[in-house]
């Protein structure tokens, strides 16, 4: 087992355990905090996959921003997120069966597909390549995304603003 494999399994364990805690904790604050190792683990996987830029963004946005945001909201709406209220609905067994089945089936499919060898090599300077791709072939997607961000920004302000 080389260093890469070791890293992978460690990160995978981090992700899975974190994810499990996220969906399983009764305390929502715990769940939100457990999100951090999961997202960090995913970031680590990106490093293993030579996706430095994505890693950076993952750290900045997910770990830095979204997690904090979620925590804030949990604290803001504490009366409704506390331990006294039941946190699970009545379809737990069914959900367990369905999601378990889905995972198993996906595995069955993924492992059977013969993925061929890579059709090229990764560009050496990763952020530059990403930038070129974003601004040349995918510029439309880029623009649309920025528009969506704008709309979200406005929408979020409108929705969350306290009405006079």
């Amino acid at each position: 087992m080389n260093a890469e494999a070791l890293a992978f399994y460690a990160l995978a364990a981090m992700v899975v355990v974190g994810g499990g805690l996220v969906v399983q904790s009764r305390n929502l604050v715990h769940a939100a905090v457990s999100l951090v190792p999961t997202l960090l683990g995913v970031a680590g996987l990106y490093v293993l996959l030579h996706a430095e830029f994505v890693t950076a963004i993952q750290l900045l946005i997910y770990v830095g921003a979204i997690t904090v945001l979620i925590l804030f909201v949990i604290l803001l709406t504490e009366g409704a997120t506390g331990l006294r209220v039941p946190q699970r609905n009545e379809q737990v067994p069914l959900a367990l069966v369905v999601s378990g089945a889905l995972v198993l089936l996906l595995w069955a499919v993924l492992l059977r597909v013969p993925w061929g060898p890579p059709a090229g090599t990764l560009p050496p300077y990763n952020p530059g390549a990403v930038g070129r791709s974003l601004l040349m072939p995918y510029v439309l997607a880029f623009e649309v995304t920025s528009l969506v961000i704008l709309a979200c920004l406005v929408g979020a302000i409108v929705i969350a603003r306290r009405e006079e």
Partner: protein, 688 residues
């Protein structure tokens, strides 16, 4: 000059416009606008009339007004002897009444409005007379109806005036609707409503076999039915039986209005129309439409004269007298006396306007309408008395006043063409002299009795306040009535003059070939074609009618003047006839019950029907739908009705079956979606 005839109605119309928009600021000067316009219009009218009298050709002008497919409906005016002499009469009488009104209406808070409505009336009346088609005639006809409505209710604070104006408009409207249907029938038969074209067609059509309509057991020729429907308008407007009920009530209006509208012009419009549309009546099989006209007229003449004898209100007596005289005119036209009827129309306009104005002068002085509260007025109101007397003699038909000549013409025609009508009309003439003498005797002779309850002011103090006037004080009128100011008496004198002389156009020898001028001027061409000749004047007949008139005066003088026989005794002799006549033969009462209350009851009933039945059905449908949806849980227990639309039930049933699945909770839906994805993955696994 005939080309300028369109100016005749235009002047009063402009005057109306000015007074309607600027009347308030004109204030006291408002009448000058109206009188000036009438003077200009009279000038043109008399010029046109004299031109026609000197033998000018009739003139017609048309312009397109509406279109329907390829057809064009025109309006325009026609100048011929009949229309020109009528407009000359209207502008003259109208102008004099305008002048009189300056005095009569002085100090009224709605002074300008009064003259505005009078001007509009004259515009409408002149339009109606000059019109060259049934369409324009109808327009003028309804406009004068509107003005009559507005002027009857001029004292709009009075409930009685409000009721009277509605009664007038609605009663005439019944006749107008019949006439409208008649005009529709004309359009149907001839495709036009132009006088000339219609009359040409009926003249030609008279020689051919005419189409008939079945009305129950009777077969009526279409032309006759059309003519009679058109006659519905004159029946309403000219107060003929059975639509005469509005005219006596119309006396609620100010007296100049009664003089102008309800004596001289508007009510004569019906007679004028029958004269104008004479071919329509004449060219029916056996002139049968004219026979109807004659009998309606005769009946009206007798009935109204009878009622007039038992009335006490001076204006009502004159109103019933007007109805009766209009009946005379209709009867005259009906017994083939085309000239006679129209001649009486012209003379009657002068002397009846005179009588009303003089009556107005009396009312102005004594503040009551009841002749039994007057008396002895000949001494304190000499001008009014003498002019009234002139009008009285003209109406009674005493030689040489105008009424003698024209009424005699009618009796002469009736004598030759329809003896039964002649007898009845003679009786009516006797009654006319009787009730008029009664009126004169009560009002002008004896001693002054004075009103117990003087007529209250028609206006409220607030009306004067708004107009910036001071309400007239109470008790300022003298114990002894006094003569009216010259602005009112001068028109009386002028009209009295005409009441004396206007009949002379009917004196034999004034026209060519020894006939009278009026016969020469106003003649109906159809008579010559049909070989009918007007009977010539005969002295025995004239003397007989004069004797009848004098007899009427004599009888009245015996009872009411000299009081040899007390009127109470007369009442006792005639028994129930007196209350019958006094209550206007109960005609108004019956109409009130049948039409007014009946109509309102029907309306109320239909409103109930609308809310509870028609709308109830709609609401029932809605209610049932709501109920069904409320009961959806019990739906399964319902026994499915075989008649009910199976598809509808099935859809509904399927809906309720699927209903529990729609929980509205997102996580249920997502679970299903995830399971679906799992199934899809499973399928793809198979295919690998």
């Amino acid at each position: 000059m005939a080309r300028l005839a369109w100016l005749i109605p235009l002047f009063p119309l402009v005057s109306y416009g000015v007074l309607a928009f600027r009347g308030r600021s004109l204030g006291e000067r408002a009448p000058y606008v109206a009188i000036g316009a009438m003077a200009l219009s009279a000038l043109v009218a008399w010029a046109v009339f004299l031109e026609q009298a000197l033998g000018a050709e009739p003139f017609v002008w048309r312009a397109a007004w509406a279109v329907g497919g390829e057809r064009v409906i025109t309006v325009g005016y026609t100048v011929d002897p009949l229309s020109s002499i009528t407009v000359a009469m209207i502008t003259l009488v109208g102008g004099l009444i305008f002048v009189y009104s300056v005095g009569y209406m002085h100090g009224d808070p709605y002074y300008a409005r009064f003259f505005a409505f009078l001007s509009l009336f004259c515009a409408g009346m002149l339009t109606m007379v000059l019109a060259n088609s049934f369409l324009l005639m109808l327009i003028g006809w309804e406009v004068i109806g509107l003005c009559s409505y507005l002027l009857i209710g001029f004292y709009f604070r009075r409930r009685s005036a409000n009721m009277a104006q509605m009664k007038a408009f609605l009663t005439t409207r019944v006749g107008d609707t019949l006439m409208l249907i008649g005009i529709m029938a004309l359009f149907w038969q001839f495709g036009t409503v132009d006088y000339h074209a219609v009359f040409e067609s009926v003249r030609k059509g008279a020689k051919e076999a005419s189409a008939v309509v079945r009305l129950g057991p009777w077969e009526v020729p279409v032309v006759t039915l059309t003519a009679l429907l058109v006659f519905g308008g004159p029946i309403g407007k000219s107060g003929q039986f059975p639509l005469h009920v509005w005219l006596p009530d119309a006396m609620e209006g100010p007296t100049p209005v009664s003089a102008l509208i309800h004596a001289a012009t508007l009510v004569a419009a019906g007679v004028y129309l029958v004269g104008r549309a004479y071919p329509l009546f004449f060219f029916t099989p056996h002139h049968e439409a004219l026979v109807w006209v004659a009998w309606v007229g005769t009946l009206t003449a007798v009935m109204a004269a009878l009622i007039a004898v038992a009335q006490d209100d001076i204006k009502r007596i004159l109103a019933y007298s007007t109805i009766s005289q209009l009946g005379f005119m209709m009867a005259g036209l009906g017994v083939l006396g085309y000239t006679a009827g129209l001649f009486h129309l012209l003379t009657h306009a002068f002397f009846k306007a005179l009588l009303f104005l003089a009556a107005g002068s009396v009312i102005h002085a004594v503040h009551t309408n009841n002749i039994k509260e007057m008396g002895g007025l000949w001494r304190c109101m000499p001008v009014t008395f003498w002019t009234f007397l002139a009008g009285f003699l003209a109406l009674a038909g005493v030689f040489p006043f105008a009424g003698f000549w024209s009424k005699d013409e009618i009796l002469l025609e009736a004598y030759h063409h329809n003896p039964a009508v002649y007898v009845l009309l003679t009786a009516a003439a006797f009654l006319t002299a009787l009730y008029m003498s009664r009126l004169v005797a009560y009002a002008f002779f004896g001693r002054y009795r004075g009103p117990e309850h003087p007529e209250p002011d028609p206006w409220l103090p607030e009306d004067y306040e708004r107009a910036g006037l001071h309400p007239p004080g109470h008790g300022h009128h003298h114990r002894q009535p006094h003569e009216s100011p010259p602005v009112m008496t001068v028109p009386l004198v002028v009209l009295a003059f005409f009441a004396l002389v206007v009949g002379f156009v009917g004196v034999p020898g004034t026209g060519p070939d020894g006939g009278s001028w009026i016969h020469h001027f106003l003649k109906f061409e159809g008579f010559e074609e049909a070989g009918i000749h007007a009977p010539s004047f005969s002295w025995p007949l004239a003397l007989r009618s004069l004797a009848v008139a004098l007899a009427g005066i004599g009888v009245a003088w015996v009872v009411y003047g000299l009081r040899w026989v007390r009127s109470e005794q007369v009442r006792a002799w005639i028994g129930p006839l007196y209350p019958f006549l006094r209550h206007r033969m109960y005609i108004d009462t019956v109409y009130g019950w049948v039409f007014v209350r009946g109509g309102l009851a029907l309306a109320t009933g239909l409103r109930w029907f609308d809310v509870h039945v028609v709308d109830g059905l709609v609401n029932l449908v809605g209610w049932v739908t709501v109920l069904l949806s409320r009961l959806h849980r019990l739906f399964d227990t319902y026994v499915v009705d075989g008649l009910v639309n199976l598809v509808g039930w099935a859809t509904r049933g399927l809906g309720s079956l699927l209903r529990p699945l729609q929980t509205g909770r997102a996580y249920n839906y997502i679970l299903v979606a995830a399971a679906g994805v799992a199934v899809l993955v499973l399928v793809s696994l198979w295919r690998l």
